[in-house]
Symmetry: C2
Subunit: 277 residues, 2 copies
DNA sequence: TATACTAATGACTAACCGGTCATTTTGTCA
DNA sequence: TGACAAAATGACCGGTTAGTCATTAGTATA
């Protein structure tokens, strides 16, 4: 395990117990068994650590969920969404607790931006599910449905994260599927109008700039040995500015890199960039 | 306004913007226009301030909601519960934000206990509503209904607290009433069993000890001038250890003090103590 | 006006914070 | 073994923190 990862995994434990502000760098390094100086070889600052941490876990969660949502059958999508979420939370209890705690933290503007970004990703994922499962029929209540799903997920996740009793992930998912279906079927008094919903939809997620994409791909390419994936990355980089290949080829190249753990996130971003979703 | 109140109302503004940890006592006193020493004449420590703050606002919220829930018609109860909650939040936006932010803060064990206490009060209030509105028919799903209501309330409150768009409290309440009714009517796959629900129900709220009640009443009696209320308090104090009066008399005495703003909370606690609810 | 008491002040302390950097330890070659 | 570089250390820095306390200001009584 790299030192960076060691620090992240130990830090997430302390943050989830005490909160970000209340945990000192000294505490983290003591807990890792390293010196304070060593910390600053891996991270430029304490702020950079929590930003990296959020990315590290949220990228895993988001790609996993997005993949699930796009590849399940219509009948299973909603169940799998709930189940995978609970499962991810129970596999990363400390991070999930941190997420709940630091949700609305505002001192650090960069952190707040990041939170808003991933929250918006979640909204988009849920909206995709809703449109896939219920079709156009529920257009006028779909934004209320997003809010309701997030609220329910929040309540039941708290149970998983902060109670000592065993948590049956399958039953919980099943129960939330039923609640969602009921609401989708019978709801007729939405609170959020189409008008407001649009704002809701497009507000905070602007796509990554080409420069950001390219630099991210470069830094990943440097870390990878496997030649197929490295080559695919290089070819994809060339396609970002001026797409000359057929989209099928690009899709294939993205498929090549998706299997690699380090590439999952960039694969997801590239699909968004090339409008392949 | 007393100095204590001044500090609390200014502090809640700063806490809601920056969080508790990130706000210094110096900042608070500067903002109040008083000296640092003066702060420590009103509060023993910064921790004591936030505990007092939570009590100050949550007692207002709880008594208000409890009164509403018990005195509305069956048809209006649920609507009024949602509406009053939204209304209280929009009248005390800063405190409500603080509440959302510091929800699960765990460094301070006393704070965590207090949060759990008021959360449990909320659970009891919601349970009372559910039983009043839906009767015994929904016994097997009532704990799921509590969770669902809290989740929905959480989602929609976030909208009120963290978005800049105008928030129609009446429409929001109406919309949540509908959602709740739908769930209560059609839900059939509860997640929380009767067994777990019992734990849920009795877990953390132990009644206040008689000593705590008595000392609270004494300190309030010292602050009050009005003789009727003062006398009623003294008579009630005598009844706590050995109830000799008829319960009707006790009920009357409690009614005497309820009108006084300082007594609302103790009136609520006394009703619980004498099992008058 | 003198006295006695409370309310309020802000300089001060000891502890801790995030972050730096000269120094030492460790690992890797020839 | 010795020479060199990379990795790791922890004393140290300037700044901030919660909390204290000798001193002063304000007020009421006599």
């Amino acid at each position: 395990m790299s030192k960076k990862q060691l620090i992240m995994e130990k830090a997430v434990e302390l943050f989830s117990k005490q909160g970000f502000e209340a945990t000192s760098v000294q505490q983290i390094t003591d807990y890792c068994g390293i010196s304070k100086g060593a910390f600053y070889l891996s991270f430029k600052s304490k702020d950079e650590l929590i930003l990296a941490l959020i990315d590290y876990y949220m990228q895993q969660f988001s790609t996993e969920l997005d993949y699930t949502v796009r590849n399940e059958t219509k009948e299973n999508t909603l169940y799998q969404f709930f189940y995978k979420t609970f499962h991810a939370f129970s596999n990363h209890v400390e991070f999930a607790r941190l997420l709940m705690k630091e949700q609305t933290y505002s001192l650090n503007e960069a952190l707040l931006d990041k939170m808003r970004y991933y929250d918006q990703l979640t909204n988009e994922t849920i909206l995709t599910i809703i449109e896939k499962v219920y079709g156009d029929a529920i257009n006028d209540i779909k934004f209320d449905l997003i809010l309701a799903i997030k609220g329910l997920l929040n309540s039941y996740s708290s149970l998983l994260l902060f109670n000592k009793v065993a948590f049956d992930e399958e039953l919980a998912a099943e129960s939330l599927v039923e609640k969602t279906n009921i609401l989708a079927t019978y709801m007729s008094t939405p609170f959020i109008t189409e008008e407001q919903g649009k704002m809701f939809q497009h507000f905070s997620v602007e796509d990554m700039s080409k420069e950001q994409l390219l630099s991210l791909m470069s830094s990943i390419a440097d870390d990878i040995e496997d030649s197929l994936e490295k080559d695919s990355l290089v070819l994809l980089k060339e396609q970002i500015d001026h797409t000359s290949f057929n989209l099928a080829i690009i899709k294939g190249l993205i498929e090549n890199i998706r299997a690699n753990k380090q590439c999952k996130w960039i694969a997801y971003l590239l699909e968004k960039h090339f409008n392949l979703l």
